[in-house]
């Protein structure tokens, strides 16, 4: 027997409603017990004194870029980034090359992920080649190991196809995830439409582009009577639509990214804080992301919806890119933020500001995303430290400060708008199946 004791931490397991000083015993890679008086003979010990002990985070929206765009990220580097960010499970989006629309591609991802640092659960395409015309073989993809379906990066623009996808996915008990964007309204916009886009002379993408798609998706889901998950919602009206849908009892779930919870469109022009050189406008391509960073009012609404549980989960939308894809004109730059390694620290700004309680934040990073996609069907007890669960554990120091240094990221994507920013709240160690897959030096194993 291989026994490991995580001793003396504050154990926070929202799935079980646990928030107490306790030890966590892991035996042969599985959680054996939580308590204060555990059998510790022949046991390795991790001292978690002063730390929070949480189930490993679950990211239901990650771009691993593998296969086909390994210059941006690989399953190896992406899962290492996940481990550093406290994520022990990542659901990878299928906008790879080729797209994850066949069993062969799913099997490639799962086989490659066997030697990765954390668990990878693939999301399959809704449509062949993500082209939005014909359904992919959803049942075969499900049998191969997909846990949900999405054409993310693009919306399922055809509402009838969306409905058919939801119906076909229900055969396998899986959900469709839609990227909500009306392309006719967004119309090539490169940032949020508002005063900052006017200030910069950049083409704006209006909030209505997202909101009309959210409204349509809810209507389609309601009529089909089937569950639907909305990726990265970012506006006040989107949160209002989801709130109303939930009040009607519709099985609609939603996620929000750390950047949409904390950054506004102002940073595109003026940067995150006064420490930067603001003599000229920044046109910071590392802030270019889709959906775009919105107004302060939208950010406040997203935080409130997350706190209430209207938004079920925080998802990173980790979107790594090569340097040259960002070191160019703003119009030409790729959309996306490399987010796995900064997600927790960035979200902790909400806890430190009093906008969110720590247990709520942990819930939205663990039990929330598992519930949103129904991942416990694929991995029993995922997102919890209940006895028998995988030994996926993250040790957090909510008060520790660190400076974001993209050049030290494990991810190949150094594209973050947070470079040089000091964040308060860091990942001290990450355990996956009872093994330490990332730790700072100070953790003695």
């Amino acid at each position: 027997m291989n026994k490991l004791l995580i001793r003396g931490g504050r154990v926070l397991d929202p799935a079980q409603g646990v928030d107490e000083g306790a030890d966590v015993l892991i035996v042969d890679g599985q959680v054996a017990a939580i308590g204060g008086d555990l059998d510790v003979a022949n046991t390795e010990v991790i001292d978690a004194n002063g730390l929070v002990v949480s189930p490993g985070f679950v990211d239901i929206h990650t771009h691993l870029r593998d296969p086909g765009q390994e210059y941006k990220e690989t399953i190896a580097t992406g899962t290492e980034a996940a481990a550093r960010g406290g994520f022990t499970t990542v659901c990878c989006m299928p906008n790879t090359e080729p797209a994850i629309d066949t069993r062969a591609t799913v099997e490639y991802v799962l086989r490659t992920a066997m030697s990765g640092h954390v668990r990878v659960l693939p999301i399959g395409c809704v449509s062949r080649g993500r082209e939005g015309h014909e359904l992919a073989e959803l049942a075969d993809l499900a049998d191969a190991g997909c846990v949900a379906f999405s054409d993310d990066g693009s919306p399922v623009a055809d509402g009838a196809l969306l409905r058919h996808a939801m119906e076909f996915a229900s055969i396998s008990g899986l959900k469709v995830i839609d990227h909500c964007e009306d392309l006719a309204i967004s119309d090539g916009g490169v940032m949020h439409e508002g005063w900052v886009s006017t200030r910069l002379g950049l083409r704006g993408q209006s909030a209505a582009a997202e909101e009309t798609a959210v409204a349509r998706d809810i209507a389609v889901a309601a009529e089909a009577g089937l569950p639907l998950h909305l990726a990265h919602i970012s506006t006040r009206a989107s949160t209002d639509l989801v709130r109303a849908a939930k009040q009607r009892g519709l099985p609609v779930t939603a996620e929000v990214t750390p950047h949409h919870l904390t950054l506004t469109h102002n940073v595109v022009a003026f940067g995150e804080n006064g420490n930067r050189d603001n003599d000229t406008l920044l046109y910071d391509t590392n802030t270019k992301v889709n959906p775009p960073l919105r107004s302060a009012d939208d950010v406040a609404a997203c935080v409130e919806a997350l706190r209430e549980g209207v938004i079920d989960a925080i998802a990173t939308d980790h979107a790594p890119h090569a340097d040259y894809e960002k070191a160019c004109e703003f119009d030409e730059a790729a959309f996306g933020i490399s987010g796995l390694e900064t997600a927790f620290g960035l979200c902790m700004t909400l806890v430190h500001s009093g906008a969110l309680e720590l247990p709520t934040l942990i819930e939205r990073l663990t039990a929330g995303p598992v519930r949103a996609l129904g991942l416990q069907r694929s991995v029993p007890n995922l997102g919890s430290l209940v006895e028998g669960a995988h030994g996926d554990v993250v040790l957090l120091d909510p008060a520790a400060e660190w400076t974001v240094e993209p050049e030290r990221f494990a991810s190949k994507g150094k594209n973050t708008p947070l470079a040089c920013r000091t964040l308060k709240g860091k990942i001290v160690a990450t355990l996956y199946n009872g093994k330490v897959v990332w730790s700072e030096e100070r953790v003695e194993v």
């Binding site: 508002g194 005063w195 900052v196 002379g201 083409r203 003026f270 406008l281 046109y283 009012d297 004109e329």
Partner: protein, 366 residues
């Protein structure tokens, strides 16, 4: 007639605010120097007074005093241009590269002439016919120009912000010759020069900018410089061609960093008692893009014509940055009439660009 600068305005884009991020407060502080415009213009400060800039990217943070330095320098340059042999060696040994990713007649020709009059070597690079056509990235082209030994790069680019990237990533100086829909500072400077030569002090003067404001870098730069010089700027155009964010009822209105302009959709109202009218070029693709029913409808509502000009102040000048679509945004009679200063704008463009190049490069040893 000079209006009090604090007279009420119906739509203030950037209302005064209590809570403003530090970086914006600083910007605002610069723009609040605006009301001093006339005093400074009266003093005719020496060109040496204040010019510490490394680049000319936009006029968004120019004080009235600094604008006047450039305009007064341009006045001196006009005297040079009037000589029998308009050549001075002020920038001898300097290398100026014009790098144009978009077509241009006026801007490029006037920059080239400005550099030559001042004795600099001028090299012209166009996207068409250069490595850009082979897919060279902007940064690589910038590095090539740096390696050639350029002292200043005059950049026109179809993407907003491209000159900011060039300025950040190179050791030479950058002059923005028009970036996407963002800024065209030398156009706004020549407009300000032309307006001042027509009207004198611009404080309290009502200047109407008509047309496709949303896509106009000329309008954007002019908003900053004209308001800095104390003018009352009225933007006029159909709602489809006005940029978002000009609504001061929005929740984030107080943090907005935009110049204090007024919006009026009805040209017949906007133009009343105008001291000057600036018509903007209308791109024909705005119709196919669904922003306009037709050019006919646009012209009916927004063409600057004789009938409308009758509502402006007598002798109010008409400006246009060119190239003109006669019969669309401006009628032929007005474009070529006695109030048109379009050709004067072009001529002033050379002097203004000489002033900019001179102020940027003069202190440096070759």
């Amino acid at each position: 007639m000079v209006k009090n600068a604090s007279s009420p305005r119906t739509t203030r884009v950037a209302p005064s605010s209590q809570k403003r991020p530090a970086q914006l407060t600083e910007r605002r502080a610069k723009t609040e120097g605006r009301s001093n415009a006339a005093d400074i213009s009266a003093e005719r400060l020496s060109p040496d007074a204040t010019w510490q800039r490394r680049h000319l990217l936009d006029l968004d943070d120019f004080s009235a005093a600094e604008l006047v330095v450039v305009l007064d320098t341009a006045g001196a340059m006009k005297e040079v241009l009037a000589r029998d042999v308009p050549r001075v060696p002020a920038l001898r040994g300097k290398t100026i590269v014009t790098l144009f990713y978009e077509a241009s007649t006026r801007t490029r020709a006037s920059f080239e002439l400005a550099g030559k009059v001042l004795g600099a070597d001028v090299i012209n690079v166009s996207a068409a016919g250069s490595s850009v056509q082979k897919g060279e990235a902007l940064l690589d082209t910038i590095r090539t120009i740096q390696a050639i030994g350029a002292d200043v790069c005059i950049l026109r680019h179809h993407s907003s912000g491209a000159p900011y990237l060039a300025a950040r990533e190179s050791s030479f100086r950058v002059v923005n010759a028009g970036d996407g829909g963002h800024a065209h500072p030398t156009q706004a400077l020549l407009d300000a020069y032309t307006l001042r030569s027509q009207l004198g002090d611009l404080r309290g003067r009502k200047i109407v900018i008509v047309g496709d404001i949303a896509h106009s870098r000329v309008a954007r730069s002019n908003m900053w410089s004209l308001t800095a010089l104390g003018a009352e700027v009225v933007l006029c155009g159909p709602p489809t061609l006005l940029p978002p964010g000009l609504n001061d009822a929005a929740p984030d209105a107080e943090e907005r960093d935009l110049p204090p302009v007024r919006v009026e959709h009805d040209l017949d109202i906007a133009i009343e008692d105008a001291d000057a009218v600036m018509a903007l070029r209308l791109q024909r693709e705005r119709q196919s893009g669904g922003l306009l029913p037709s050019l006919r409808e646009y012209a009916r509502l927004y063409q600057v014509n004789g009938e409308r000009m009758a509502k402006a102040k007598p002798d109010a000048p008409v400006l246009h940055p060119g190239p003109i679509n006669e019969g669309v945004e401006i009628s032929t009679e007005v474009a070529h009439g006695s109030r048109s200063v379009v050709e004067e704008q072009v001529a002033n463009g050379v002097a203004v660009r000489m002033a900019v190049l001179y102020l940027l490069l003069r202190g440096e040893q070759p």
